[in-house]
């Protein structure tokens, strides 16, 4: 089971900082996001891409997390040599993160 089964995501960019949201389809799954989408796991996932800090902001009102990652966009959108200079596709990598399969009963999928 993947994060993609219970959540959706969008990436935004400002300078060399990327933010990736993670939003539960069903607000009841918000706790699952908090438990499994930890700062450490996100750091590990983006090892080699994100060179700075990862901060996680919690938004229980909309069942969402917001990850803010510094030094994540190859020096900044306007000068990066990366093919995806904005880091727009990072959201898809986050949704590919594994979740324990026995969580499925609690999800909306």
């Amino acid at each position: 089971m993947k994060l993609r089964d219970i959540a959706h995501s969008r990436t935004g960019d400002k300078g060399n900082t990327s933010n990736v949201s993670l939003i539960a389809y069903d607000p009841n799954d918000y706790d699952v996001l908090c438990t499994y989408a930890t700062i450490d796991r996100v750091k590990q996932l983006f090892d080699g891409i994100v060179n700075g800090e990862v901060t996680r902001y919690e938004l229980p009102g909309i069942g969402a997390l917001n990850f803010v990652m510094t030094e994540a966009l190859g020096g900044g959108v306007t000068r990066s040599l990366a093919i995806d200079a904005h880091g727009k596709s990072l959201s898809s990598a986050l949704l590919n993160m594994d979740l324990p399969d026995d969580l499925r009963s609690g999800s909306n999928e």
């Binding site: 935004g12 960019d13 400002k14 300078g15 939003i23 080699g48 901060t55 306007t78 000068r79």
Partner: protein, 444 residues
């Protein structure tokens, strides 16, 4: 309680034009807002203005105005846009000329100026977020523009402008300006201003809140993206917001589309820094109240910082790039060999790069080696890109990829090359009091 209707007619400078016409004709709007100015666009526009004093505004301004002005005039819809880029005055003159051609006599067009602070900043030792100081950039500096708030836009509307054209303004300010004007919001009512910023933030990327940039077949299906409708915000005097779109247009407005846009480009949701307020989105709630109707409440705000962000555009470097494709069995290995050859060739021929990057498109280009481990593609596209001090050196990179045709691994096809100047953007903060805005009026 009074409600006004704001439509978003563009989310970036190259955006589709028909959805804006649809909004002008069928949206029952009070305002149609076009956000068309990306971070570095204004630096490029400034360069265009240096070559021609009447240039430097959005290249699609005339096409957009021609398309929407007749319906806007007929339906009493006022326009707010940052399509002025580096030259709001010339943009206003061009719009006036179009209005005259269309027979729209008496149309009043306002140009907001004052965002261009290059003259004041040029020789200062102010620090930029890229480690340089402004004067350290020397003659490489191309532009410096402060992000303006909503007050000048509100002023122009109060003075009766039908079209308000700005240069650099904070994107949500384009929406906040009309709200300040219509509801006479006090410039120190932080919770209200914060709600106005949320309105702007949700609408400014146009189709991104109505189902654009959202579809993921089987998980998040969206109908009719080829006819995507752009959003309408119904805003009450107390800042209460409903996001919707023209009935029958493509796309969808749901709690999920609104939540994705809510967090787009947000860092700390409790402190979203804007020229007029520090907006707080941390306790926002989103509720579907009908088909394509989403109610958004709970935004607030705290006092503004008194400083404005300034984007500084400068010539950073040159970049050269080459690409070539390999297919079938061994494609990945031949792609890797190609990269090794190009790297060695660049070293042998003395091409100096401060950064050199190689990707295998189809395998590791987007997320690097870790995330793509173990996947075997049928085809790969080699991409070698490097940063150099001169354009001539940049060209050498693409040339060394191209020579793989006759000198490299078997079966390389579709070589392509480019070399370009890189105009980059860095930012700093300046006191709001140092920025002097002005509004000029033109009449068709």
């Amino acid at each position: 309680m009074r409600t006004i209707r704001l439509g978003a007619g563009a989310g970036y400078s190259g955006d589709r034009i028909e959805p804006a016409v649809e909004l002008a004709e069928k949206g029952k709007l009070d305002y149609l807002v076009f956000e068309c100015l990306a971070e570095r666009t204004i630096a490029l526009a400034q360069a265009a203005r240096l070559k021609d004093p009447n240039a430097g505004f959005d290249p699609l301004l005339e096409a957009r105005m021609k398309a929407v002005l007749p319906a806007c005039r007929a339906n009493g819809v006022r326009i707010v846009t940052n399509m002025g880029a580096a030259n709001p005055i010339s943009a206003a003159r061009a719009t006036t000329a179009i209005a005259q051609q269309l027979g729209l006599r008496g149309l009043k067009i306002a140009a907001v100026t004052g965002d261009d602070v290059l003259g004041d900043l040029k020789n200062s030792d102010r620090h930029l977020d890229n480690g340089f100081t402004v004067d350290g950039l020397g003659n490489r500096i191309a532009s410096a523009n402060a992000y303006l708030g909503g007050a000048s836009i509100a002023q122009a509307l109060r003075d009766g402008a039908d079209v308000v054209i700005t240069g650099r303004a904070a994107d949500p300010s384009l929406f906040l300006g009309p709200l300040i004007h219509e509801f006479d919001w006090a410039m120190d009512d932080w919770p209200l201003l914060g709600r106005g910023i949320l309105v702007g933030h949700l609408l400014e990327c146009a189709g991104q809140v109505t189902g654009g940039y959202f579809a993921d077949p089987g998980y998040k299906d969206v109908k009719d993206l080829a006819r995507l409708g752009f959003p309408i915000g119904e805003v009450r005097e107390d800042g209460d917001l409903i996001v919707t779109k023209v009935a029958g247009s493509g796309g969808r407005v749901t709690a999920a589309t609104v939540k994705e846009q809510l967090l787009y480009e947000i860092h700390d949701p409790a402190r979203y820094f804007q020229p007029d307020v520090v907006a707080d989105f941390s306790r926002v709630q989103v509720e579907e109240i009908g088909e394509d109707r989403v109610h958004v409440i709970g935004a607030s705000g705290t006092p503004k910082t008194g400083e404005l962000k300034v984007s500084v555009g400068y010539i950073d470097s040159y970049v050269g790039e080459g690409q070539i494709s390999y297919a079938g069995p061994g494609a990945l290995e031949r792609g890797r060999l190609a990269i090794e050859i190009v790297r060695e060739r660049l070293a042998l021929s003395g091409v100096e790069t401060s950064e050199l990057r190689s990707d295998l498109i189809g395998s590791n280009a987007l997320h690097g080696e870790n995330l793509s481990l173990g996947c075997q593609p049928y085809e790969v596209r080699v991409r070698v890109i490097g940063r150099t001090e001169t354009l001539a050196q940049a060209r050498r990179i693409g040339e060394e990829v191209e020579t793989l045709y006759t000198n490299g691994p078997a079966g390389g096809g579709g070589a392509w090359k480019s070399a370009r100047e890189v105009v980059a953007v860095a930012s700093t903060l300046i006191p709001e009091a140092d920025v002097r805005t002005a509004v000029q009026y033109f009449e068709a």
